[in-house]
């Protein structure tokens, strides 16, 4: 216990780094996921295949290999990435592959007639995406994205393997330091505490995800006149 209190600033720094890494990755992944996910809903078969190939490739290769790949291969092409940047890129490739699948499935869950009737009303394709199918898809997209964030928080621990001083690495350093300086091995306590803190953070996110899911579902049960979620009703279009 005293061990934890003594290292508190260090630990908080590590947690901050973990969250920063997770949020940065989530942001990049979300952008790529929406671009690729929407591309996959378009009517070009080869485009769909390309997106599918990307998704399958980065889902089927172990995440560790992914991160090491970015870390070791980028310098060969003259890009000296810092460990932080390498991990961000590696995780983003993985996160965006998973995110793409979520976005694609989200748009697929919107009934086709929504698109057809919107087009019949004379909306341009981008207007349909923005005002009709998008908001409906968002309902099924948001909860899994919170799940993705939980997974990303866990996955940032892999940063320790290439030397990013995030939360897990901090745990490792504390174990090594204490063993060296004080002569006893606190691995059980420290790694136990590390597990608990991850558990608290990720549980909170999981709860938030479930809450969001419940809320969005309740909204769906309301009569249609209550208006769509998150965007102004169609009647307010210019």
């Amino acid at each position: 216990m005293t061990l934890l209190i003594k290292n508190l600033p260090f630990i908080l720094q590590g947690i901050g780094m973990t969250l920063a890494l997770a949020l940065a990755t989530l942001l990049i992944s979300t952008v790529i996921a929406f671009i690729l996910g929407i591309l996959a809903t378009l009517r070009f078969r080869w485009l769909r295949w390309l997106v599918k190939a990307y998704v399958e490739l980065f889902r089927d290769i172990p995440l560790i290999v992914n991160i090491f790949f970015v870390f070791f291969v980028a310098p060969l092409f003259g890009m000296e990435l810092s460990p932080f940047a390498a991990v961000t890129v590696g995780l983003s490739l993985w996160g965006s592959a998973n995110g793409t699948e979520i976005v694609r499935a989200g748009f697929a869950s919107v009934p086709r007639h929504q698109w057809q009737s919107a087009a019949a009303l004379g909306l341009k394709p981008w207007e349909v995406y923005l005002f009709i199918t998008g908001p409906q898809a968002l309902r099924s997209i948001l909860p899994p994205f919170v799940g993705l964030l939980t997974l990303l928080v866990q996955a940032t621990s892999l940063g320790a393997l290439v030397g990013v001083s995030e939360f897990f690495k901090v745990g490792q350093i504390i174990v090594e330091r204490t063993t060296m300086m004080e002569g006893w091995n606190p691995a059980f306590t420290v790694y136990g505490a590390v597990l608990l803190i991850y558990f608290v953070i990720c549980s909170a996110l999981t709860w938030f995800g479930r809450w969001l899911e419940r809320r969005l579902k309740n909204d769906q049960r309301r009569p249609a006149s209550a208006g769509p979620l998150l965007v102004k009703p169609l009647t307010q279009l210019p």
């Binding site: 939980t150 691995a187 597990l195």
Partner: protein, 220 residues
């Protein structure tokens, strides 16, 4: 820097040894995790008083903590309180515990689709609980639960690469080790990516076949 196929060939045996270890660890862990899954799911479905809560806690804990931290806790943490496991078995234990939590949920999901009325009907026809389970519930549950069980197994195979962090010489470890010696980065990464993709592909083809076979009687 060009692609050196001869080098890759020379490293073949080492990679194969790593692959063999990966396959061993994965196969043992997959089997054991399904055993955990079956037991945990039984506890959850039968709603056994205290065990039920314990299983829920276990599943939530595993799902909300990184596998790497679990692995370090088992490999570095447990020996300090007197529980010493070999490198190999620490790896197997952590992968098993990790995948077991997911298998519990997969199997439970399958079992819970078997409607309650069905059980009452079976009992009123005089079937014993065991016969009901064997003849009615299990076949129905497997159809629903199998795809996600196989998915978890595939994830386990990929996650066996975590074991390189504690120094088990599986596929990823061998590759990283060679890279730090010979700097033949591209060759090694191409090799292990192809191997992992092939493994995942083989497993998912197998999974699809199995699913198709199980769905056969239900196709119109």
């Amino acid at each position: 820097m060009e692609f050196d196929l001869a080098y890759l060939m020379a490293q073949g045996p080492a990679l194969m040894r790593g692959l063999w270890l990966t396959v061993q660890v994965s196969a043992i862990s997959i089997v054991l995790s399904i055993v955990i899954g079956l037991m945990g799911a039984a506890v959850r479905v039968l709603k056994l008083p205290v065990l039920d809560k314990l299983v829920i806690g276990y599943v939530e804990f595993i799902r909300n903590t990184p596998l790497l931290a679990q692995l370090f806790f088992i490999f570095y943490g447990l020996p300090t309180i007197g529980l010493k496991l070999s490198l190999f078995w620490s790896g197997v234990l952590s992968l098993t515990l990790w995948a077991g939590a997911y298998q519990i949920e997969n199997i439970r999901g399958g079992l819970e689709t078997v409607a309650k009325g069905l059980r009452e009907a079976a009992f009123s026809l005089g079937l014993t609980p065991w016969r009901f389970f064997r003849l009615i519930a299990a076949p129905m549950a497997i159809r629903v639960g199998l795809p996600s069980m196989l998915n978890t197994s595939i994830s386990l195979l990929k996650n066996s690469s975590y074991l390189q962090a504690i120094g088990l010489a599986e596929l990823t470890y061998v590759a990283i080790d060679r890279i730090s010696m010979d700097f033949r980065t591209i060759e090694m990464f191409v090799a292990i990516c192809v191997i992992y993709l092939a493994l995942v592909l083989v497993l998912s083809v197998f999974a699809n076949r199995l699913e198709n076979r199980l769905n056969k009687p239900f196709r119109v």
